[in-house]
């Protein structure tokens, strides 16, 4: 669904993404993980077209990025924290988003599942963080996109809403669409993730299935496996060893997925 090839991005002297090539496959949930500042957000923003890569290319569902942003028809995005203009009502926000994609197929399931009908006439500024996050999630799923990008999706959601969202994610996966998800809650990723992409210091250190990751790290669960990845990276970093070649972690090749 995403096919990224050699993405690079520098902010001033800082190499935020360094030659990242990653494929996100359809019908799977890919967890994008890594320590803070590893380049996860930048990767997502490049795919969304918010940020431009210095080099490399990517496509979404086979569509190359274009200047007018038409390829974004295929993406649903749920940012980490949504802020809408405070004085807009919930229905105004939804109406705007719908009107921006008049021809797309609709999926209003989350709107009703989250009980947003009762919130429609409230100004966004008066909503609780959780309710705003529900609106945010509903918007991401609104158009049956073939790719969903969810940035810390359950942060701020209550357990019930969180459960509804996870169920929705599974449903999307079952429909053969793909989901790219970042989260700090590793237990949650464990529940959902099929694949893992691990970024550190702007480089992709691992990309593969959860099973492959468990095998490589000798762990039985995702959480300790990722912790192990981070430890190894941390040790490598403090030892100032030349990356990639000496860690025993092969640079992921597409066929590894």
């Amino acid at each position: 669904m995403i096919s990224a090839n050699g993405l690079r991005k520098k902010f001033a002297a800082l190499e935020v993404l360094d030659d990242v090539s990653l494929d996100v496959r359809p019908g799977a949930v890919t967890a994008l993980v890594g320590p803070n500042g590893s380049g996860k957000t930048t990767f997502i923003k490049i795919v969304l077209g918010l940020t431009r890569a210095d080099a490399g290319s990517f496509s979404v569902d086979g569509h190359l990025a274009d200047a007018a942003g038409a390829y974004r028809r295929h993406i649903g995005y749920m940012p980490q924290a949504a802020r809408f203009p405070e004085n807009l009502k919930v229905k105004d926000v939804l109406a705007l988003i719908r009107a921006l994609r008049p021809d797309a197929p609709r999926d209003e399931e989350l709107v009703s599942a989250f009980g947003l009908a009762a919130e429609m006439d409230k100004a966004v500024g008066t909503l609780s963080g959780g309710t705003r996050q529900k609106v945010n999630a509903a918007i991401a799923f609104l158009f049956r996109p073939s790719l969903l990008i969810l940035d810390e999706p359950t942060a701020g959601l209550d357990p019930v809403a969180s459960g509804i969202l996870k169920e929705k994610i599974r449903q999307v996966r079952a429909e053969g669409r793909s989901v790219l998800i970042t989260s700090h809650i590793l237990a949650e990723l464990e529940e959902l993730a099929d694949d893992v992409a691990f970024l550190c210091d702007g480089r992709l250190r691992f990309a593969g299935t959860v099973a492959a990751l468990l095998e490589r790290t000798g762990q039985t669960r995702l959480e300790p496996a990722i912790a192990a990845l981070m430890r190894i990276e941390g040790a490598r970093r403090s030892a100032l060893v030349e990356p990639a070649t000496t860690t025993g972690w092969p640079t992921p090749a597409p066929e590894a997925l």
Binding site: K45, L48, G49, L50, T51, R52, A67, A68, G69, A70, Y71, R72, R73, I75, Y77, P79, A81, A82, R83, F84, P85, E86, N87, L88, D92, V93, L96, I97, A99, L100, R101, A123, N136, I139, I149
Partner: protein, 262 residues
């Protein structure tokens, strides 16, 4: 175009319910009506209002505009993630700021004048006053937008806005005054009038003054004003330059919006 209108509509919905904007419009309403109430004739009210417009419109457009653009950041990112071209999104966003600001001024100050049927203010003077207020709203909204898009640090951005405000309302004129004193031995009128073109606040002031008969009263220099800005050609130049003061920062902001990483 449809996208511009959609984004603009959302912006209008938001800001027309914004209490600062409403207070801003009310402030003009009360001021103008108050001036009428205290026995001002139309031209007197227009003249008093001019001073307020020259100070307050740039200040509010800059500071409110900058803060608003920073506050819209996450929303803009969400919209950018939709299949929407950036130029249209920018146009909608900018108009969504500039229209409510201009509108609050125009409606707030306009109602008392309409209510009193102009109260003896010439059509040209009213047109000039409202053109000036709206042009300043647009020009400084554009500058605010540019600042917010170019400066990552919000505090720095707002500081920069305040700096621009001080520079254009006070400091620039201070330098002009210093120049007038320093080069007193030279015929300065024309160069100084030229300098007035380089500052939108001065330009707006000239435009209104020439319509309010004030400059005509001011002897030789006033007569020169009148000849420079009061004629059809002069007014056209003033209006065109004022339009450029809207267009150039707007173009810079648009370019910045087009190119920047969010």
């Amino acid at each position: 175009m449809k996208i511009v209108l959609l984004v603009l509509e959302a912006g209008l919905r938001d800001l027309t319910r914004n209490r600062w904007i409403v207070a801003y419009g009310l402030c003009f309403l009360l001021l103008a009506e108050g001036l009428f109430w205290f026995g001002g004739t139309g031209p007197q009210v227009a003249l008093s209002l001019l001073n307020i417009v020259l100070m307050i419109v740039p200040l509010v457009a800059l500071v409110f505009g900058t803060i608003h653009m920073y506050a819209s950041r996450e929303f803009v990112e969400l919209l950018l993630a939709q299949p929407v071209p950036r130029p249209q999104l920018f146009a909608g966003l900018f108009l969504g700021l500039a229209l409510p600001l201009s509108g609050a001024f125009a409606v707030g100050a306009g109602i008392p004048f309409a209510w009193h049927a102009g109260a003896g203010t010439g059509g040209g003077a009213l047109l000039a006053l409202f053109t000036a207020g709206i042009a300043l709203s647009v020009a400084f909204s554009a500058i605010a937008t540019w600042i917010a898009l170019s400066t990552e640090d919000r505090l720095k951005g707002v500081g920069l806005s305040l700096g621009v405000w001080l520079a254009s309302t006070i400091v620039y004129d201070g330098l002009v005054l210093a120049a007038a004193a320093a080069f007193a031995d030279y015929p300065l009128e024309k160069p100084l009038l030229g300098l007035m073109l380089a500052n939108p606040v001065d330009l707006a002031r000239m435009l209104v003054l020439t319509q309010l008969d004030v400059s005509a009263l001011m002897g030789y220099t006033g007569a020169l004003f009148e000849r420079t800005f009061g004629t059809g050609l002069g007014t056209s130049i003033a209006v065109a330059t004022l339009a450029a003061w809207c267009a150039v920062p707007l173009a810079l902001a648009a370019r910045r919006f087009q190119r920047r990483d969010f």
